[in-house]
Each structure stands twice: as C-alpha cells, then as structure tokens.
C-alpha cells in the first residue's frame, strides 16, 4: 500500500502527461504482478465491493477524531471528498505496516465475514497504522469511491510502453468482465483469443464535437472547409438514448458506454439479440421508442435506475435498439473495414431479423451539400434527434475519442436567462468553492427554481461568483445557501419536458451555464411562460 499511496502522491505532484506516464511505469516496474492487476482494476473502475457502508465509516472516523457529527459534515463540505476528509481529521498514526495493495484488498474482501464490532476494531487498527497519504487512498478503496485524476489512457500508455503491446489491443483486453482476483497480469499480457471472455465488448469509438462551444456557431461554409467533399461523408441523426454494444456470442450481452453490463435492464432487446447469428457485435443506441419515433431521454431515465422493471414501466417506456455499426460479424473483428462495408453488413443483418420492432437501424440522412445539412440540422428536434453524427465513409472503427473521421454536430441548445437563487459547494478541484447553483425564472413576481447547473464558467468567474455568494447569503440550510437573487446567467439545455416531480412543472435535459449575463438585471430574466412555450 505504501507504494500505491506514493504513486498517488507522485501523480498529484505533476500536471505533465509524460511525467505521469513515467511515474506509472516506475510504479508498475516496482510492484508485484498482483498489485499491478489490482491497480489496473482500481484505475479502470473495478473497485472491490463496498463492505462497510459510508455511514459507519463516518461514524467511526468521528469517534476516532473526537469531533462532533456536525463538525465532521462541515469539514466534509470544505474538503469535498470523504476519504480525504477522514485522512485529514484522524489523529497521527501510532504504528505502521508494510502490507501490499493486494493484501489490503484481500482484507477488505474478507470483511463480509466479520460482525460490526469486529469491523470497527479492524478499521480503527488499520487507520492507526497508516500515514495520511496511505489513509487517503485506503479510504478511497474502502468506500468504493475510486475516481482519480488519471485517465485510463495514461495507464494504458504506461502498460503499452512496458509490454510492447499497442494501446488499442490493451484497451480492448481490459474491457468487459474481469476480476483482479481471477485475472492475472501475465494473462493480460499474453496473446488471447475471443474465447477467453465471451462477454468482452470492444472499446467504443467516440466523436468530438465539431461545434466546440455554443459561443462560436460554425457556418455551413466553415463545416465544409473542415470536412471537405460532402460525398465522403455519411450523416446520421444523433439519438439521445444510451450508447450500447449488443453482443451475441452463444449468449447475449449488452454493455453501456460506461462499461456497465446492463443486459438485464433491456429485456425488450433479448429476443432480437438471441436471433442474431453467433459472433455478432453491434454498436448503437438503446432508446425508448413509441408510435414511430424516439421518446425523450427523461422517459428512459425513469426506468434506468430501477432494479425491477414492472409491467407498467415496460409499457410506458418501451425500448428499442437503433444500431449504427457492426464491430464483429461471424466471429471476426470487423472494425478495420471501412464504414461503408460495415454498414452493408449491418443492413443485411437488420433485413434478416425477425424482430424489426426492436432491432432498428439508424437511417442515413441524404444530403448533397453542407448548406442543405445545415438547414436540416435546425429541424433536429422535430426528428427527435440531438443533431447529426458525421462519419467518413472510409473510416475504420477506432478506439476511444479521436478527431478526424467522426464528428458530432449537435443542434444549438435551447436557452433562457435565469437568476441564481441557491448555491452549494463543489467537489474535487472545486472543493470549498460555491460552484453548484440553482436557477429560477419569474412566475409573476415570484422566482421559481427550475434547474441546477454547475459548469460553463471560467475559474475567474467562479471566484467572483463565489465571492458574491459568501457576501450575499440570506440563509443556510446545511450545505445549501439561499443567495440574494441578483446574478443572471444564460442557461442552455438540450430538451425540456413536462414534469410532475419538479415545482416548476418542467424538467430540463443537460442544463448548463452558457454564460454569465453581467449586462442583465434580474428583472430581465425569463419567465416560466417562456420556458413552457418550449415544451
């Protein structure tokens, strides 16, 4: 654990990518294979099962730190990270140990066999044997909140440099269903074939936005300059569902973009999947669909978090798969074929399906010039789409987010001017700064809150707004401050729907701050009527 804790400290002490890769390589060279695979698991989101709930962890930490509960909570709001808060609050260590990361994880995994009092004793003794940095990373592992400032790409880069394997191969190998307790580092490095793991998905190919910010709207001519001949490009509508990979290899598997195995969440898709020829992998969008068109994202949202999908839910939010790519066919990896060939395979598969109601295909949008597509994009919302995906016809299916061959070209967001009414402190980089705001619009002479948003301001603006909030607080409710209504912001969002759960009667999709309207007084903010007119 000392080496792992030190790895963290070292990674925190540089902002340079090359330096981070070097630190990771040094670490991987120094530790055992077992620690390597555990590290890889943690850095790729495969954390051990949470064995002690965070309420108990908090309680025992307060007890050991000798501070009251409210002060612990206040501290947490200042630090913005539970593991770090605890590490800072506990008294200095009274002993030390040299257990490896793998040994600690083994102990954590065995906690299931202990009763509460035994866990408490174990945790207190563990904390007492660690310095602050060890405690910090240990707490992160223990509470299952292992999000770190190092991207998976960096880890892969380091491992690729060490092993001589290329990054695409490694990225693929660490996808899917594996457990550091059963999968070893040598296995990862060995030649493998698909039979190793039938459920393993391919790394998703992700697109950058061609319209980077809503501030500088690109014209059709500018798009044309960037992309060249329209005949080289395929346009598809961009759907607002859940990006997913559907796999048929003897069994069916559905993976979401977040690398979550979600097969059980989409029962409507099981029949068509079972019917696909063996050795088929499709990339597409799982999306709610009814009466010939996709339903808004919030319909999907109502079912996605549920463990049990009741008949009622299934009836209200029927799901389909809109496929747009084929990554494996007849057991062969097809990602190296040009898009046109992959599309042909996909179309043939879809023609053959006995379940066209669940297995759809994202239609290709015909266009002869960028002007035409530009005009069509303005109608995206009428087509229940978020804009276009532009894909080069010759493009292979790449690994991860890459520029050049695929672009997303989203429709400009809807927007309103709104007044900030509540504020809360952020986390991580934004800890101890008020960065999460609630916004309101006018309903007669009252302000009605309608959205929370926290991105879109520069660090300097955040500093200024934070300063304003601290000096213009009307009331405090726990971590939330009621702020004197005064500051006006332009809030952008992708869609708007009626909602019975929100006081305002509307729910927004992806609300975010587009800009701070320092030129506007709060009286000039929009009204709830103008919002509802967008429904």
């Amino acid at each position: 654990m000392k080496a792992f804790a030190q790895l963290f400290a070292d990674l925190d002490e540089t902002n340079k990518t090359n330096e981070k890769v070097r630190i990771l390589k040094d670490y991987f060279v120094a530790v055992s294979d077992q620690d390597k695979i555990h590290t890889l698991a943690l850095f790729t989101g495969r954390k051990p099962k949470r064995q002690i709930n965070s309420t108990l962890v908090r309680t025992w930490a307060m007890e050991m730190a000798g501070i009251p509960g409210w002060l612990f909570e206040e501290s947490y709001h200042v630090v913005g990270d539970l593991g770090e808060t605890i590490a800072l609050l506990l008294p200095g260590n009274t002993s030390s140990q040299d257990k490896s990361l793998a040994e600690w994880i083994e102990e954590i995994n065995h906690l299931g066999n202990l009763d509460e009092e035994e866990r408490r004793t174990w945790l207190r003794a563990s904390w007492a044997s660690m310095d602050q940095q060890e405690r910090f990373v240990f707490n992160k592992v223990l509470t299952g909140s292992f999000r770190v400032g190092v991207s998976q790409n960096l880890i892969i880069k380091a491992l690729a440099d060490l092993s001589g394997l290329d990054t695409a191969t490694l990225t693929h190998r660490i996808m899917g269903n594996w457990d550091p307790l059963t999968f070893s580092y040598p296995q990862l490095m060995q030649e493998q074939d698909a039979s190793d793991d039938f459920s393993r998905p391919y790394p998703f190919y992700l697109a950058y936005a061609i319209q980077e910010t809503s501030d500088q709207v690109k014209s059709a001519a500018q798009i044309g300059e960037t992309l060249g001949d329209p005949a080289d490009w395929q346009a598809e509508w961009k759907w607002d569902g859940i990006r997913a990979q559907a796999i048929r290899r003897g069994e069916s598997f559905i993976w979401t973009r977040g690398e979550e195995l979600a097969t059980e969440k989409f029962p409507e898709l099981h029949d068509f999947l079972a019917d696909l020829p063996d050795g088929t992998v499709l990339d597409g969008e799982a999306i709610c669909y009814s009466e010939g068109h996709p339903l808004p994202f919030n319909v999907l949202q109502t079912r996605i978090g549920r463990k049990n999908l009741s008949k009622k839910i299934l009836a209200e939010s029927p799901m389909v798969f809109i496929a747009y790519d084929c990554l494996e066919y007849q057991g062969e990896d097809t990602r190296g074929l040009p898009l046109t060939s992959r599309r042909k395979i996909l179309e043939d598969l879809q023609l053959a399906t006995r379940h066209p109601e669940a297995f759809m295909i994202s239609p290709v949008v015909n266009f002869s010039g960028w002007e035409e597509l530009y005009a069509l994009r303005m109608q995206s919302r009428e087509y229940h789409a978020e804009g276009f995906m532009l894909k080069k016809r010759s493009s292979v299916y790449q690994v991860g987010r890459k520029r050049g061959d695929w672009w997303k070209w989203k429709v400009d967001p809807l927007s309103v001017d709104a007044v900030m009414v509540y504020a809360q402190k952020g986390h991580g980089r934004r800890a101890d700064l008020y960065t999460d705001y609630t916004f309101a619009v006018w309903d007669g002479d009252k302000l009605v809150p309608f959205a929370k948003a926290y991105s879109g301001l520069t660090d300097k603006e955040i500093g200024q707004v934070d300063h304003f909030i601290k000096r213009n607080t009307i009331e405090k409710f726990g971590p939330v401050r009621t702020v004197k209504p005064e500051l006006v912001f332009e809030i952008g969002f992708e869609g708007i729907n009626q909602s019975t759960r929100h006081k305002s009667g509307v729910a927004l999709r992806f609300p975010r701050i587009l800009r701070w309207r320092q030129d506007k007084k709060m009286e000039e903010a929009d009204t709830i009527e103008s919002l509802k007119a967008m429904l």
Binding site: D12, W70, G80, K476
Partner: protein, 353 residues
Amino acid sequence: MRKPLLEFNDNGIYCPPGKFYIDPWKPVDDAVITHAHSDHARWGSKQYLAHHLSREVLYYRLGEISLRTIGYGETVVKNGVKISLHPAGHIIGSAQVRIEYKGEVWVVSGDYKLENDGVCEPFEPVKCHSFISECTFGMPVYHWKPQQEIHNNINQWWRQNAAEGKATVIVGYSLGKAQRILQHLDLSIGGVFTHGTIDNTHEALRRNGVQLNAATRITPDTPKEAFRNAIIIAPPSSAGTPWMRRFMPYDFGYCSGWMALRGAKRRRAADRGFVLSDHADWEGLITAIAATECETVYLTHGYTATFARYLSENGYDAHEAHTLYGDDEGGEAQAEALAAESENAALAEGDSL
C-alpha cells in the same frame, strides 16, 4: 450592560472611549495597525500607529503617511485607553493589539501563528477578557507539520530540479512567506532570485534593519542561463503569467496553508504544493484562545460560523464578526486578490524594467 470596549462598525474595529480604530478598512482619523498586509493596513487614514518593524513596508505600500511606531510591550495612551503591541508571530512586524480601559482588557489578534518561524518575533499569548481572533484555518482538517519538515522538502525539491537542470519557481506572499522561504533555503544548492515586488519588500525590510539572505532581483537583463540551478521566489499574482516563461524549463511550487487540501492544490495547477502557512492551524487557534483565558471571543476572517459554534459548545461566549479581512469564509481568497491587485502594478513594472 456595559458598552463593549471595541465594536465593529462600517469603518473597522472601533474603540469608542479611545476614539481610534484597529485595522480600519475605510479612511479614519486614527488607525492602529496590526500588520502591513493590504487587507489590514489600508490607505487614507490621517494617522497610523504600528510596530517599528512595519514602518518601512507601510511607507512602501501606503506612501507618505503619518506614522508612529512603537516596540512590543510599549504602551501608548489615547483618551485614557492604554494600547500596547505584542508579538503575533504572523510576519515581520506583526502585532496583537492589547487595549485596556478601566480594568477591562481586549486583545485584537490581527493574523497570527504559534510556531516560531525563525524570521519574526514568535507569538506571545496575552491575557484578556475579550479576544478578537482570526480563524482563517479554523477547521479541524487543517493541521500543520513542523516547518522544518516543509523547508526540508522545499530544499530537496530544489536540489532535484537543479540536478535535472530545471529552474525552481516557488510562489508565496511577498510579505511574510517570501522571507520565510528565503531564510530557510539551503544556499549551497544554487542561486536565489526574487521577483521585483518581493525585492521591493525586501529592500523596505532591510531599511528597517532586518537581516535577510542575499537574493538577486530579476530584471529583463538577467540572463536566462542564470536560472538553471536557481530558485526563484515569486508572488502568487505572477503564477501563470508570461513573466514566468523566461524560466523554462521549470518546476512550479506553491506555498500556502491552502495546499493542505487536494482540491485547492489542483485548482492552482501547481507541480508541488507546500503546506506552509503564516496562520494558526485548528489546534493552534484553540491553544491560543485558551492561553488568553478570555471569556468572550469574536471571530473575524476564516470559517467564523463553524469555529464560533465549536467554541460555544466548549464553553466560550463566541461570536462571528463581520469584517473585510480575508474573506468572511474560506479565507485568503480575497487577501490573495488584494495582494494580486497591489502587486500587479509592480509586476508590470518588473516586466518593463
């Protein structure tokens, strides 16, 4: 009930019987100054009283002011109110202000820390009935390590950078942190350079008779090769400005109590964060307040609400006070902004010289 000896009004901390202010934020007739940081020593008052060692920095920062300086323990009487200054251990010349009137004693802490930093006169507790204390770091997550450990880390980092042929740029407030860094450097490693703003402050301190290690002021003529093994002490406002480019390649470190939190450190995008503060940490505040044996505590800048509640639960009559020092919560942000403001002019000057 008797009227309090000190009160908070729109101009600052006011003593009605003595008719003077302590650290006023608006121009007043008579100002007693705890220390020369810009959020405590502001321009425009008719006359000032401060410690001897604040003299030259106050002239440098505030220009031609009417200033009287006294030593620690020396007493001045204004309208029957006894005023004396006592070491606060914050920066060179920093003082706690003790006020006595008709047997009642109040102390205004200004900013303070308990650890002897080896540069300024160490903090001395002063017994009083009421204590007006800062609490910039009044949260239990702030716990400072002994400064020797931090200084060793700084030197080790510098040594490593020098070995790799990189310059070392370390950032800290020009008054206070910069001297503390300078006095604890291992001068055998390489050359020491200072930003113009810091050098101006050092010149002022030297005029005041303060002995400081030698450091070279950076000018546009300083050859770039000179920076290779060197350490450069710069103010926070210079971070991320084009002025820094001349040091390439360099490693950049930030010296501040805020570096104790990962989030704060990441925000400043420093390669290294050194947790070195001129303010008391949580334990330090509690120790200092207990040592005054006071009954009533007023808390000025920092986590005032949280700290007041904690003290109340521990038997003190504790209150939050609204001042314009630091920020009303979260601390140095504004001091930093103010420091940046006052230093920007000098920075521009440093660039064009």
